[in-house]
Symmetry: C2
Subunit: 229 residues, 2 copies
DNA sequence: CGAATAGTTGACGTTACTCAACGGCTGTGG
DNA sequence: CCACAGCCGTTGAGTAACGTCAACTATTCG
């Protein structure tokens, strides 16, 4: 499928947005659009790494399975995010759609050639890569909290921020993009413990729940407080 | 202090190694050498981010302090590693010397100008940044293990690999670069638990200890096994 | 020699994991 | 339309692991 950059919802934020209009048109010729259904994977750990992608719509998770088959979620990818490994022969991690998603996929060779041709693209990817690095370190700091309640509070806050239109205020009501199992896989705990701490947060009137994924921040200040502990 | 690239121990591996000899000479003019004593910090979280550095000798830790003042180690920096935030106004994390260290420091403005002038430098930093990203995700996967024993086994293995000359085989004997407290801060646990699991590993004849930091891998296969669990 | 720092060990309480049962929602087939 | 299976989430009881507090030891540095 050919790219439709003109109507692309991330055309102002994705890495390609740093290119001049004609260069972007050039780049669009080497990219293809791909749709993933919820649960479908873009990459599998160990596959040869021969493509990369910018997420246009939806959400992805980057995860790995340990020896017993327990999933660990290492990162989330939001629209305009980039995924794929440019300098490694094989993919380290699985990349899977959390919701139905749309991507802009580039062959690795093509992308490497484009990096040579458009130095500003390399800079843009460097910037994204550093952002991903800080996101990974933030998650590391979050999952280092001793009590699951603190980790969960921090994750809910992060989700509320991601769901918000404004960059400074968290959304007051939003839908969790993750199942209980996925939350547990992000925070390094179990479904049962997530469930317990979640009902606890509701009992203490820090959050309100509507359905299994709807969250309302009843007391954001206290939530932020708990996230510190 | 001026740079002495000719005798630099990381001249073949650091980001600057991708530059032609004359370009490197040019770059060396904007850099300065700096020495840090063990425990001395290069950056403090919240400072304005106006310099970056390549580590030449020694070892650094990237860490953050939570509200109660507990340290969390987010990354280690080894020689040839790069540290500093190019695209953020303020530094997110503390960067501190684990051992006496020597760095090659660049002003951020100068480095940004160099990125424009030498596209291959931007590519090299992109590559490093992606490696750092995978290192952060590896640590995330490691600290996600439920039992401290598994996390500790994984960390000891990673240290043994880092201490080895050959990239494939871990060193059989080496010195831990971290104190018990720093190990605990990396693995998200306490000094006491590290101490207990460490004596346990020795009692089970998986490792042998000489002094407080000397480690010998008595049974690397079993250690790798424990790291899975 | 003494103080300070780092590491070890013990006793105890708390948290979270495990295993298991149950409830609610959804989609399918009678 | 209802019955049922399957999936997801919740709740409960018991146990194992770890955190906390505290005492003690070893090492280093003046």
């Amino acid at each position: 499928m050919t790219l439709a950059c003109e109507t692309c919802p991330v055309r102002d934020r994705a890495a390609c947005s740093v290119l001049a209009e004609e260069d972007r048109a050039e780049l669009s010729r080497i990219g293809t659009t791909r749709r993933l259904e919820r649960g479908e994977s873009l990459f599998f750990a160990g596959d040869s790494s021969d493509s990369c992608a910018t997420l246009v719509r939806g959400a992805l998770k980057v995860s790995s399975l340990d020896a017993e088959g327990t999933e660990r979620i290492l990162a989330l990818v939001h629209p305009a995010g980039f995924t794929g490994e440019l300098f490694q022969p094989f993919t380290h991690h699985d990349v899977t759609a959390l919701t139905d998603s749309e991507l802009c996929v580039f062959g690795r060779k093509d992308l490497e050639a484009a990096l040579d041709r458009y130095p500003e693209l390399a800079r843009a990817l460097l910037r994204r890569s550093q952002e991903d690095l800080f996101a990974a370190r933030d998650l590391l700091a979050l999952t280092g909290k001793r009590e699951v309640r603190a980790r969960l509070a921090g994750l809910i806050l992060a989700m509320a921020r991601a769901a918000s239109d404004s960059p400074c205020h968290p959304a007051e009501r939003f839908e969790l993009p993750l199942s209980r199992g996925e939350i547990a896989a992000m925070l390094g705990t179990t479904i049962e413990t997530i469930s317990r701490r979640m009902t606890e947060l509701e009992r203490d009137e820090v959050i309100r729940r509507t359905g299994t994924r709807g969250i309302e921040l009843a007391d954001p200040a206290r939530l932020a407080d708990l996230a510190q502990g």
